[in-house]
Structure formats: C-alpha cells, structure tokens
C-alpha cells in the first residue's frame, strides 16, 4: 500500500489526484494503476518520472504503507 499522488496531465486522465493504492513495489503499483487503461498508457509515456517520499527515483523501489509515491509527467516551469 502507498499513498499515490498524480500531477499535471496524469491527474486529469485518472480523474483523481491522491489515493491509497495497494502494492509492495513500484512495479506492483504500476500494474494496479494500469487497470485504468488510459492511466496505464499515460504513465508509460516517455518523460514520466517517479518520486518516492519526495526523492526522484529511477528503477524499482520498495514501498511501505507510509510511502508517498508521486507520478510526474514532463516538467514545465518558468
């Protein structure tokens, strides 16, 4: 289980911004989120980054119930 946050376009695609989602790893979380096909496709797009507990991670990460996992589409500031 992890607290999942969606940013930007991803939140619009999913229709939510924040939810508790079951999953012990990022891969399990992605599989769960991918049950919503549109969200699964949006998460698989190039340039989508992941942060666990507010640290950007590449690859896999172990999660706990207290983990905050953010999925972030390409960034655009300034």
């Amino acid at each position: 289980m992890a607290r999942v946050l969606l940013f930007g376009l991803l939140a619009d695609v999913a229709g939510w911004r924040e939810a508790d989602i079951p999953g012990e790893t990022l891969a399990a979380l992605r599989a769960e989120l991918g049950k919503d096909e549109d969200l699964g496709q949006a998460l698989a797009r190039p340039g989508v980054q992941v942060a666990v507990d507010r640290v950007i991670v590449r690859g896999e990460a172990a999660l706990t119930a207290a983990s905050e996992v953010a999925f972030m589409p390409p960034m655009s500031g300034g």
């Binding site: 946050l5 940013f7 930007g8 942060a51 507010r54 589409p73 500031g77």
Partner: protein, 149 residues
C-alpha cells in the same frame, strides 16, 4: 540563497531592489523575469502546479549546483503557483557574483533548468478549452548545452 513558491503576484522591481541592497562585495547582479503570455488570445489564464517539498528542494539543488559552478555569492528564485493572468510575472531569478559573466551565465543556467527540470506543470485555460504545456524541443536543447563537456 532562497526559493519562494507563492500564489500571490509579486513586483519584480521590488524583489531586485531588495536583492541588491547592502552588497559591498558584489560587482554584478543579473536578473530574469518571466511573464505569462496571452498567446494572441489563446490563453486567458495559466495555471501552475507544484509539488511542495519536492519542487522547492529541486530548485535549491539546481541553484546550489549553479552557485558552485559559477562561484555565486547569492541567488534568489521566486516562482508563482496557482492561477496567473497574462502580463503577470511567473518567475523571478536573481544571481549575485563578483563579476558580470558569472552572474549572467548562472541566471541563464537557472532559467534553462527551471523550464524543463523543476517539478512544475503548466496548464493553459483559453477560449478553446484547457491544454497542458510540455517542454519544447528548444527547452530541452537549451538545458542540454550546460551538460556537454
């Protein structure tokens, strides 16, 4: 060495004045102000989303890298979040150094990284509906020029 994320509009001139105040050993201050564009009527409002706790930390990390690379004495980044009307300032960056070249280059570097590497998401609201703005090819090549050895 300060990052500010704020919903309220800001006055860039006032920020620059305060940033320059009381500096006896700073030969150069460079600044950049980014304004929201109307895009010839296509944008009524820009909406900026950030991830508090990550966005400010990433900006501080990027600015720390710039400070080390260019030998900055000080820097300031102020970035709006929430809804921004065309003509209002979105971002203000100021850099302080002993000499002008370092201040100019660090300011340029900071803006290139803020455009495509800082956690912000930008949405345009206009007469044709809502559109997410993603970094352009130019934004990507602008930041890559600092990364080639």
């Amino acid at each position: 060495m300060t990052v500010v994320l704020q919903v309220e509009p800001f006055e860039p001139g006032a920020l620059l004045g305060r940033f320059c105040h009381g500096r006896l050993e700073t030969g150069a201050v460079a600044s950049f102000t980014g304004l929201a564009r109307a895009d010839e009527g296509a944008t009524d409002i820009l909406e900026l989303e950030a991830y508090p706790g990550l966005t400010d930390a990433e900006i501080a990390r990027i600015a720390g890298d710039a400070a080390e690379r260019f030998g900055l004495q000080d820097w300031l980044v102020v970035h709006r979040i929430g809804k921004i009307a065309p003509g209002e300032a979105i971002v203000f960056v100021a850099t302080a150094a002993g000499h002008r070249r370092e201040a100019f280059e660090a300011c340029d570097y900071l803006m290139d990284y803020l455009k495509s590497r800082a956690p912000f998401w930008k949405k345009s609201h206009g007469p044709d509906g809502v559109r997410w703005i993603e970094p352009t090819d130019r934004d990507r090549t602008d930041v890559e020029r600092w990364e080639t050895p």
